[in-house]
């Protein structure tokens, strides 16, 4: 035990460096997912144009059925090859996780908006609220509560899935651990560390999501 802690302590700078990469990608992807997902979700909930709806569904479906791994390859290898753009592993990772997160988030936003009864819109309009006031003061405050559990779950999924970035050469906390294992031949200690680390990152979020879900029901 003491030996394990010592090993981790000695390699702390490397692990922390990897952890920042992991959290940085997750944070950036979460940020873009929220913005993109909110816009796309509101569009899907209220813009009843057949082409818009079909395009949004196709986008969502593409990120549902094609593995994230494949998307990482597409943005890291295929897109640069086809376009002569220079895309770093980190940029490819942030792009893919943002696009995936936004598609999932749009479904959460759309679902939450759809659960607000039409009569709430009527009641808001009936007291003379403008469209902006109606959304900001009546619809969104109710919808956000319903989105939170799903949105938080999505963040935990984004954090976990960042471990895939290893394959496009990003040195995240998983990659750093593997490097340390190669040098020290201590796989058990480092994988146990990763297990506890991801648990510590995701479990509180998961608990929070469940608590909120209970409270709103």
């Amino acid at each position: 035990m003491l030996h394990a802690l010592e090993l981790l302590w000695q390699n702390a700078p490397l692990l922390l460096d990897g952890l920042w990469a992991t959290l940085g990608i997750a944070a950036a992807a979460t940020f873009f997912s929220i913005i993109g997902g909110a816009l796309l979700g509101m569009m899907r909930a209220s813009w009843n144009n057949a082409i818009v709806q079909a395009a949004a569904r196709a986008y969502l479906e593409l990120f549902r059925v094609i593995p994230i791994l494949v998307w990482l390859f597409v943005f890291f290898f295929a897109v640069p090859a086809a376009s002569s753009l220079d895309i770093s592993g980190t940029l490819a990772a942030v792009t893919v996780f943002s696009l995936w997160g936004a598609s999932e988030m749009s479904d959460i936003v759309r679902g939450a908006l759809k659960t607000i009864p039409q009569a709430q819109y009527d009641a808001g309009r009936a007291i003379g609220l403008s469209g902006a006031q109606l959304h900001l003061r009546v619809i969104l405050p109710q919808a956000v509560r319903r989105m939170l559990p799903g949105a938080i779950n999505l963040v935990t999924r984004i954090i976990k899935t960042t471990s895939l970035v290893v394959i496009v050469g990003v040195v995240d906390v998983v990659k750093r651990s593997q490097q340390i294992i190669e040098r020290t031949k201590e796989p058990f200690v480092l994988y146990a560390f990763l297990l506890l680390l991801f648990f510590a990152l995701c479990h509180p979020l998961s608990r929070l999501s469940r608590r909120l879900e209970k409270r709103f029901n």
Binding site: P117, A126, G128, L129, V138
Partner: protein, 250 residues
């Protein structure tokens, strides 16, 4: 209750026609509502009575006809409904209080954010209105803590707090437990006594008879009969109204 036929016309709907796709929901409906008048609209489900009510404050659009209110035709496209809705209040079947807001904030949302009135003044008025409906102690409650009857009384106060000239009631007791119907109807009856102009859609026949100055009976999107409450409930002019009433009255 009172003779209002000589009072000025407040809302003048003429030949209002509305389609849902190809189905005619309203067919040439003409109705003039006088100041201080209580008009009760009766009719079977789907006869267009709620739709007509919703046309009066722009929650539904009209394809033909006119709705004159203070010299403007609201049925014209491009009407800015927001100022109109501040003068024509509406109460819904399912209350539709805003569940994330306390009673206080439900009541202040319109006066403070739409009418830009000072918060303190709006709050004083809201407290006075709550007192009148017997819910003065509920200012800090949330909708989920209230019974259906209490919610509906607060929804009425929410509409009243905008100081409307007309109130529209859309089957406001239809979702209530029977023992809560009375408390809501008493509030509406009180408004009638104070001279509020009202258009009421309801299935409560006894209440309709007690509160109405005029009964309007609709079927299949048309007005079939307009009558005084006494005549309508004892000797209606049309067979359609007779058949309708025979299903309600024992």
């Amino acid at each position: 209750m009172t003779t209002t036929a000589n009072a000025p016309v407040l809302i003048d709907a003429a030949c209002v026609t509305k389609f849902y796709d190809t189905r005619k929901a309203l067919d040439n409906v003409s109705l003039a509502i006088h100041a201080k008048e209580v008009v009760v609209i009766l009719g079977p489900s789907g006869c267009g009575k709620s739709t007509f009510l919703r046309c009066l404050n722009g929650l539904e659009t009209v394809q033909a006809g006119s709705i004159r209110f203070h010299g403007r035709d609201l049925a014209r496209p491009g009407t800015d409904w927001r100022p109109v809705r501040q003068r024509i209040g509406m109460v819904f079947q399912s209350y539709e209080l805003f569940p994330h807001l306390s009673v206080r904030d439900n009541l202040l949302l319109g006066p403070v954010h739409v009418q830009k009135r000072p918060r303190a003044e709006a709050l004083r008025q809201a407290e006075g209105l709550l007192e009148r409906v017997g819910l003065a102690d509920r200012l800090d409650s949330f909708p989920r803590q209230l019974s259906g009857g209490q919610k509906q009384r607060i929804a009425i106060v929410r509409a009243l707090s905008m100081n409307p000239e007309v109130m529209l009631f859309d089957e406001v007791t239809a979702a209530l437990d029977p023992e809560m119907v009375r408390e809501v109807l008493d509030v509406i009856l009180g408004l009638a006594r104070n001279g509020m102009t009202m258009v009421i859609v309801t299935h409560e026949m006894g209440f309709a008879r007690a509160v109405a100055d005029r009964i309007v009976f609709m079927d299949e999107g048309r007005i079939c009969e307009t009558n005084t409450p006494v005549k309508f409930f004892t000797a209606p002019d049309t067979d359609r109204a007779k058949r309708f009433l025979s299903r309600f009255l024992y």
